[in-house]
């Protein structure tokens, strides 16, 4: 036993020391709250904007935002004053009066005290498979809270962030919901892949003992139970019908604007391969709607083979073979940046002639790794986003604030998503405060406010989303292309704009699990 203890201690110390030493290169990209102190100053002019953006005409605005005049609205929403719309607590009928001064603040619900609002951010971070996985989501919420606090807070209170690591397990995700239920007013930026039991989230009692649930302003929701949770409002809107029993036909909306644009502007006879990620049943059922929607708008799918995240580069050879046989001019992957890097690297390795082939990928390819690792191999690849790219800070104040606060040149997408969750929370709370004062904030009021939120666009940074329906994919997109080793905007050509044509969305009803033909 003596030896045993010695070795355990020695190994543990070695491991801890090694962990500390090895952290240097990671600190740059994966850790910590932002260094930069927020600099935005709240001025009186923002109150007018707040009135505009949050008044009863919201529905009209939503309608407007979907039509062809969207661009004009975007311009309006991104003007110089827009940056101030996130500053919170002073959106009242008489803007010159500080509402905090005249109100005795109360602890209105769980997680709300006289001077703080506790929110919980949950993400998969430490785990044996991929330690540090979604640390970016936690960083995003911390950055948002720090910025908000530096600007005076929200509802006359400061934000206090509780971090919870869901460790890539269902049990720890449930634990996160339980901690939130006990201690937090709301959850923000949830990025947990295995949140597959949301009963504790949805039935959590409030301070009055009513089982109304905890408001959950998540970033991503991968499990159907999380997607269909009645208290979850994800900034990456789920595109599928809720409630859903889990099997059988399901109504699903898909964003096809990017493929439509390519059809209309680059190659009218678009035909090729769509790689379907097959490691999880959920990835198959979430990808197949887009494959079928592509077909719906006229893209011919020559083959739709499955691809695993474990696939080696060599295993992309058969896909190239299939492309060569069908003389394909289109190659799309529903997987991540590594998938298309391997695919195109294999094409180069095999001497495959990809002249005229349109390579396309989604948000997962919007990473610095894609450019650095891919190098000139990924030149020409199209990548589409539903928000303004990180380099357009001069076009949108919310984006500028985010980039200023997060402290990275090219942050992770989930940091942006969790920040957006904070902005969504902020918008809902501000509306409540504007109507009932800073003591009107309760979980019930926040849930009510979120369910009635007809338009959220992160102050012009993101595609607008309608939270009044359970299923409503974000209609806007913008298309980038890798040119000379950088992401270059190709559509819409105007910086700061998204394409919000309603025709960008295709709605289909199928049994998606049965659709995959391989």
């Amino acid at each position: 036993m003596k030896h045993f203890r010695w070795v355990i201690c020695l190994l543990a110390v070695f491991a801890l020391v090694a962990a500390s030493c090895g952290g240097n290169d990671d600190d740059d990209s994966g850790s910590g709250a932002p260094d930069a102190a927020p600099t935005a100053v709240h001025d009186d002019s923002m109150d007018d904007d707040m009135d505009d953006s949050m008044d009863d005409d919201m529905d009209e605005e939503m309608d407007d935002s979907m039509d062809d005049d969207m661009d004009d609205e975007m311009d309006d929403s991104m003007d110089d004053d827009m940056d101030d719309s996130d500053a919170g607590p002073v959106a009242t009928e008489e803007p010159e009066v500080d509402p905090c001064a005249s109100v005795e603040l109360q602890a209105t619900d769980i997680g709300v005290s006289e001077d703080t609002i506790s929110i919980l951010v949950m993400a998969d971070v430490e785990n044996p498979f991929a330690p540090g996985l979604f640390q970016g989501a936690i960083d995003g919420v911390n950055a948002w809270a720090e910025r908000l606090n530096s600007e005076g807070g929200i509802a006359c209170r400061q934000i206090e962030v509780i971090e919870h690591d869901s460790k890539l397990t269902a049990i720890d995700a449930t634990n996160g919901f339980l901690v939130a239920c006990e201690r937090a007013f709301a959850m923000i930026g949830t990025t947990s892949l295995f949140a597959n039991d949301t009963s504790d989230l949805q039935t959590c009692p409030d301070a009055q003992g009513n089982d109304i649930g905890v408001p959950d302003f998540a970033y991503i929701t991968t499990e159907p139970t999380h997607q269909c949770s009645v208290v979850t409002f994800a900034t990456s809107r789920p595109n599928s019908e809720c409630p859903y029993e889990g099997t059988g036909p399901r109504v699903v909306q898909s964003q096809v604007g990017h493929a439509q644009w390519v059809l209309e502007n680059v190659e009218p006879d678009l035909h090729g391969l769509y790689l379907v990620p097959t490691d999880l049943a959920s990835t198959i059922t979430s990808t197949m709607p887009q494959v079928r929607s592509f077909q719906e708008i006229g893209v011919v799918i020559d083959a739709e083979p499955g691809v695993s995240g474990l696939a080696t580069q060599a295993e992309y050879g058969p896909y190239l073979q299939a492309m060569a046989e069908a003389n394909s001019n289109f190659a799309y992957t529903g997987s991540n940046d590594q998938s298309i890097i391997k695919w195109r690297s294999e094409a180069r390795a095999q001497g495959f002639d990809d002249e005229g082939v349109i390579w396309m990928c989604q948000l997962a390819c919007y990473t610095p790794t894609f450019l650095e690792q891919g190098g000139d191999t990924v030149e020409g690849t199209y990548v589409w986003l539903w928000f303004l790219p990180f380099d357009e800070v001069d076009q949108n104040q919310e984006l500028a604030d985010f980039m200023d606060s997060i402290g990275k040149e090219f942050p992770e997408a989930w940091a942006a998503g969790s920040w957006a969750g904070g902005v969504l929370f902020e918008q809902v709370v501000n509306e409540i405060v504007a109507e009932g004062g800073p003591n009107a904030i309760t979980r019930e009021a926040v849930l009510e406010g979120a369910r009635n939120l007809a338009s959220f666009d992160a102050n012009g940074w993101w595609s607008p989303a309608d939270y009044t329906t359970t299923q409503n994919i974000m209609p806007c997109f913008m298309l980038l292309q890798v040119q000379d080793g950088a992401f270059a905007r190709v559509h819409p050509q105007e910086r700061g704009e998204l394409d919000c044509d309603p025709d960008n969305v295709v709605e289909l009803t199928r049994d998606w699990a049965a659709e995959f033909g391989g």
């Binding site: 036993m1 045993f4 070795v7 355990i8 190994l11 543990a12 491991a15 801890l16 090694a18 962990a19 090895g22 990671d26 740059d28 994966g30 850790s31 430490e126 785990n127 044996p128 498979f129 991929a130 330690p131 269902a170 720890d172 634990n175 339980l178 901690v179 239920c181 006990e182 597959n196 039991d197 009963s199 159907p224 139970t225 269909c228 809720c242 409630p243 859903y244 029993e245 889990g246 099997t247 490691d279 999880l280 049943a281 959920s282 198959i284 059922t285 083979p305 695993s308 474990l310 080696t312 580069q313 060599a314 050879g317 058969p318 073979q321 690297s345 390795a349 001497g351 699990a513 391989g518």
Partner: protein, 732 residues
């Protein structure tokens, strides 16, 4: 014997071909068969095979020369690849220099350290301990890599001569990197074959594993040979890791997952034959690539192509001729000295455990820094998850602890139980179905036991691993097995005796009650005739058969009992989680962690299952410490322990093979008034403490008197010619 071997191989091959043909017919993708397509798939398959061969040869070298099957071979490759990344990509070293430093300096050093610090001590350890320690090393190294090189930072490694085109081979092109991989794999196999069979050091390496003492007397240096073998194995692991890194998404999990394919390849060479291992790897590569090219398994079997290696491993291991019985060694290593727990002692122990559980769930235990109110939520949820794992762990006690049948597939049995329950009870949560679930799972255990009946030790462990992986990749992902749901829980809260156990406190007590009943049942079973049969079989199958114990029947029964327990535990496991995810919950690494933790606790002791609260306990403590503030360092240590702990605990078995619970019990028992025998027992144990190392047997220096006595003892002479006091006096 020869005829039997041929028949089994032929039968297995015929069955495999028949099954493959049927599968191919039903899953044909319709890809046009052209020479170009065929050749392309063949080239790529050979490249993949060559990459896997690198790992497989490392495994074979270490096994052939040390007798230890290195489950950590893949993890060493992961470490090597990440260290290469650090030097080449992060610090900008020239690729050749970085490769040289990693493969020829770092890897051998790592191998020698592993040998000196850990593996050398496994030489005389029971096979269960050998397996657990190497699996623990695998888990530890992967966790350590993930801790040192945070996965949040994207990483990649470039292929060698990335921009230099390749060789045109008919319709397809082979890159220089792949050409190098292929040539390296073949050259390495040839060199190693030459080294092992045509050189003096190779002969010494093989001789040492057969009979260490005799080899040493003939001039071999066992310790040096062992270190050399581990150094070569590590070099091959690191080389394989570096060469494959550019082909894969660069993360520890991906790089390590390849190792199971290498196991299959190594098994193809009967774990000892290098050329056959390489051929096996190449065949696997071809099979995998041609399957991908021509077949389509659809949504429900989307991971089936990944299941080829486990299936082949299963088939090859079953068809392999089994090693000879090592009766003497087994008996001496597994001599049992512990006293069995009486029925009333078991009753007291179970009662005390239940009392603790009631206090815990009621929030009455407060260690000063924990907020009792917090028990209501996350702590109880984690405790429930731990209890469910403890129940699964309980199923391993009779199987591994008593019968010595190593099983890495507890989650496969548990998952099968959950599946059966789902089909029987639907969403009613009717708990009365649980015993029936146990009955239905028993035949599955018996079915697995049939091939296991002719397997022992390492082969059995590999077979169970292949079974677990096959179930995880092929059975559980099927939509019909565990259907996905959109709302609520797949597994409703259990209803028993008119009570719905939908609150965590009640459910914890229910599971603890089941656990206590299980523990007590096992205590009684161990004292029964059947329990003794299992342990006799563990001691020596040959001896057990000699005294009339039907070995095959006994194996089948113990497997059935274990599967039945695991199946019932699976119901609780699934009900705690509410929903199971085929992609995550059945991962082999999760199964490893259960086996490792219970083995580290003491797999022969039923109460050891409670040790599985390790992870949630530290997690809960970490949360509470976080709440108190200003203890960031402690929280960091606890978090790291949660990640690194299971591996470290398993490695610790090299010093404490019978487990922590056993040692705790042994330390505690002398103070019990009715255990007057305990002190004598400990004294007897101490007298059997490990003898001093014989070392190089006088080849480098003359024997010391202590070594002479140690040799005498080992040869069984000492007790006859030197009284005990003499031994003690000589030592002093």
């Amino acid at each position: 014997m020869t005829f039997g071997l041929r028949r089994s191989v032929v039968v297995t091959a015929v069955v495999a071909v028949a099954i493959a043909t049927v599968i191919a017919v039903f899953t044909w993708a319709g890809t046009p068969v052209t020479a170009k397509t065929f050749l392309n798939a063949t080239y790529i398959g050979l490249t993949l095979g060559a990459l896997w061969a690198m790992y497989a040869t490392g495994l074979v070298v270490v096994y052939t020369t040390t007798g230890v099957f290195n489950f950590a071979q893949g993890a060493i490759g992961v470490f090597g690849a990440f260290f290469y990344w650090e030097l080449q990509m992060n610090r900008g070293w020239h690729p050749i220099l970085a490769l040289f430093v990693v493969v020829f300096l770092f890897a051998p050093l790592l191998g020698i350290c592993l040998d000196v610090l850990v593996m050398r001590r496994l030489r005389t350890a029971p096979l269960v301990v050998q397996l657990m320690v190497t699996v623990g090393m695998m888990v530890f190294l992967i966790s350590l890599v993930g801790t040192i090189w945070n996965a949040n930072t994207p990483r990649w490694v470039n292929a060698f001569f990335k921009d230099s085109g390749g060789i045109d081979l008919g319709p397809a092109q082979l890159t220089w990197h792949r050409f190098i991989v292929f040539v390296t794999a073949v050259v390495v196999a040839v060199i190693l074959r030459f080294l092992l069979y045509k050189t003096r050091i190779g002969t010494a390496m093989r001789a040492v594993v057969d009979n260490r003492e005799l080899a040493a007397l003939n001039g071999a240096r066992p310790n040096m040979v062992s270190s050399l073998a581990w150094a070569i194995g590590s070099m091959l692991g690191a080389l394989g890791g570096i060469l494959i890194a550019s082909e894969l998404e660069f993360n520890p999990s991906n790089l390590n997952d390849i190792v199971i394919i290498a196991f299959a390849a190594a098994a193809f060479g009967a774990l000892r034959n290098l050329p056959l291992a390489v051929v096996g790897a190449l065949l696997l590569g071809l099979l995998r690539q041609h399957t991908e090219t021509w077949l389509n398994f659809g949504t429900n079997f989307s991971k089936a192509h990944l299941g080829i290696a486990p299936l082949l491993l299963f088939a090859v291991v079953v068809a392999l001729p089994q090693a000879r019985l090592e009766v003497g060694r087994v008996v001496s290593n597994l001599r049992r000295r512990e006293r069995y727990t009486n029925w009333w002692e078991g009753l007291i122990g179970c009662g005390a455990l239940m009392l603790c559980a009631v206090m815990f769930s009621g929030g009455w235990l407060n260690f000063g820094i924990w907020d009792p109110e917090a028990w209501g939520g996350p702590a109880l949820n984690s405790a429930n998850a731990a209890m469910a794992l403890a129940l699964i762990g309980l199923s391993l006690v009779p199987l591994i602890g008593w019968a010595g049948q190593v099983n890495f597939a507890p989650l496969a049995f548990a998952g099968f139980g959950a599946f059966v329950y789902l089909k029987l009870a639907g969403d009613t949560g009717n708990g009365y179905w649980i015993p029936l679930v146990g009955l239905i799972c028993a035949p599955l255990g018996a079915l697995v036991a049939l091939p296991a009946a002719r397997l022992r030790g390492l082969y059995l462990a590999l077979m169970s691993m292949a079974f677990a992986q096959g179930m995880a990749l092929i059975f559980f992902p099927h939509e019909w097995v565990i259907p996905r749901i959109g709302v609520g829980r797949q597994f409703s809260h259990i209803e028993l005796f008119g009570i719905t156990f939908d609150d965590r406190r009640g459910y914890f007590l229910l599971m603890m009650s089941v656990f206590v009943i299980g523990v007590y049942g096992l205590v009684l079973l161990r004292n029964s005739r059947y329990g003794r049969r299992w342990m006799a079989m563990h001691g020596s199958q040959a001896a057990a058969a000699t005294v009339g114990i039907p070995v095959v029947q006994t194996k089948v029964v113990v497997y059935a009992v274990s599967a039945s327990l695991a199946g019932m535990a699976g119901v609780f496991w699934a009900t705690v989680a509410g929903n199971l995810s085929a992609g995550q919950d059945f991962d082999l690494l999760n199964g490893f962690q259960i086996v490792l933790l219970i083995a580290a606790a003491g797999v022969s002791i039923p109460m050891a299952g409670i040790f599985l609260v390790f992870t949630p306990l530290f997690t809960g403590l970490s949360h509470r410490l976080e709440d108190t503030g200003n203890v960031g360092f402690l929280v960091e240590i606890l978090d790291q322990l949660v990640v690194l702990g299971p591996g470290l605990l398993a490695i610790g078995m090299v010093f404490n093979p019978r487990g922590a619970i056993f040692e705790m019990g042994r330390g505690f028992s002398p103070i019990l008034p009715w255990r007057s025998d305990a002190r004598a027992e400990i004294a007897a144990e101490n007298a059997q403490k490990r003898e001093p190392e014989i070392g190089e047997l006088g080849l480098e220096r003359p024997f010391t008197p202590e070594e002479v006595i140690a040799i005498d003892r080992r040869l069984g002479i000492l007790d006859e010619v030197v009284p005990k006091e003499g031994y003690g006096a000589a030592r002093s």
